[in-house]
Symmetry: C2
Subunit: 286 residues, 2 copies
């Protein structure tokens, strides 16, 4: 057993050459209530040279930084780029004064208000859909009828699930979006999250990094790898995806102990199959 | 103005020849909290010779009979065939002893229990999805994780919406199904409702009627007309659908007063566009 407290060496050649890192969050660094093996090592190794780039749409960057700290991961808030926040900023800057119905977490709604966004329950110009753990039939009905009345639909992200605790999945914005689209017949004008380039571009900007010196680390071929590829960035996949180099980020280091047991693959297979449903939307909006 | 209290004459030739009627409910006879013009006349004209055949999955037949009575429509409960009840009866008779997670109205759950159905919150063999006005992210998560664990999915119906009051739509089972399918990747084994033939067959049985003597009256080409056609029955459409003979059932009678104003068409267009999403599923299961 090693007593070396230094960060162990990176084994992947692409990572070893990378100047900067854009790192996915759910399924790569954390799984709901826990940090994934190797997450702290990866962030330590690339300290000051990484940004977290996530389709998360419930948290704000400061709130997420706090949550990560509780899981033992110290990440500066200004190095966290989130699809939910970015969707709000995008809408506020492009459509100042627009009336917006948000189906979203309380944190994201507070964030929108802090940017001067005019949040309404009726007569909306836009319906902004993000992951809403209080999603209900009543909220679905409100949103759908606003869309039928003429409001336009924007969504933070199109992931159908993210990995939850105990091998379970958590339904994501994409699942809610499926219900909204089915009932309204209205397709989203834009989906902000990966694989669209905006999130990665924001990550590069906040690092002052260039795509050619930057590697994406993630667990989803259809968001992380595809998004990276569109900007010409290399992508190192972990998890159960085809082409993944290790079952978790711990496997990216030389001396990280015994190999991780291979986890159940349902979560990944799910992400892949359900992502396909939205692939056309994502492609349209990218 | 006529002072004649007799039921006015039917003008549609198919209706005039019909021995029996299978009548759709939402959008044809009622719109949430009100009876549609001409509904009482139609039922009176065909008294003892009609059954209501509806994709409704929240009510039971006795509960619905009571609701209709409040709207001025006296319909015997035994002449009401509902997709939700039928889905439950089908499952209980084909899979006696199965463990069933229901995402459905309290009334439909009570009905299932009354038939001896073993309702569970985990370890389900089947997830039975119907319209659940208490649908929430938490219920979605429960159902999706049961499906990923191996439970099979059955659905009462696949309508994405039904007409609500004040020109609004009410999201239906099909919209919830879209979310469940997106997040689980699991497609329903069976969808009981129209246009699958089961509901119409049950209607014919309870009337002792033959398809060739029976006419379907409805407002949706993709459920009512398509389902009727599969069994060789004629279908008279009302509402805004292409091919509709009148904007409401009132238009089926000679002396029903001035023509109804043409209503907004969004509800129908919606039903059509969203029904398409599920057309393949319906076709598979029919």
């Amino acid at each position: 057993m090693s007593t070396n407290h230094k960060t162990p060496a990176v084994t992947d050649a692409r990572l070893a050459r990378a100047r900067h890192l854009l790192v996915d969050l759910d399924g790569t660094l954390v799984r709901q209530q826990e940090a994934i093996a190797g997450a702290a090592e990866l962030l330590k190794h690339f300290e000051g040279r990484y940004a977290i780039v996530s389709n998360n749409s419930t948290h704000t960057a400061p709130g997420l930084a706090q949550r990560l700290r509780r899981l033992g991961l110290r990440v500066p808030a200004e190095r966290i780029v989130l699809a939910g926040e970015l969707a709000v900023r995008q809408l506020v800057s492009e459509q100042p004064g627009a009336r917006v119905m948000m189906v979203a977490s309380p944190a994201l709604q507070r964030y929108a208000r802090s940017l001067g966004c005019d949040l309404v329950q009726s007569g909306a110009d836009f319906v902004l859909l993000a992951l809403d753990m209080q999603f209900s039939h009543a909220r679905l009905a409100l949103a759908v009828n606003e869309l039928l009345r003429g409001a336009q639909l924007v969504a933070s992200n199109a992931d159908a699930t993210h990995p939850g605790p105990h091998g379970r999945v958590v339904p994501e914005t994409g699942a809610l979006l499926a219900a909204v689209v089915a009932a309204s017949g209205v397709r989203p004008l834009r989906v902000t999250g990966k694989p669209a380039p905006l999130l990665f571009e924001e990550g590069l900007r906040c690092l002052g990094a260039r795509a050619e010196d930057t590697v994406v680390v993630g667990d989803n071929p259809l968001t992380d790898a595809e998004g990276a590829g569109r900007l010409g960035m290399a992508c190192v996949l972990v998890g159960q995806a085809p082409g993944a180099v290790a079952p978790s980020v711990a496997g990216l280091f030389a001396s990280s102990g015994p190999a991780q047991p291979v986890e159940e693959t349902a979560q990944y297979r799910l992400s892949e199959s359900t992502s396909k449903v939205w692939r056309s939307v994502r492609t349209e909006v990218s």
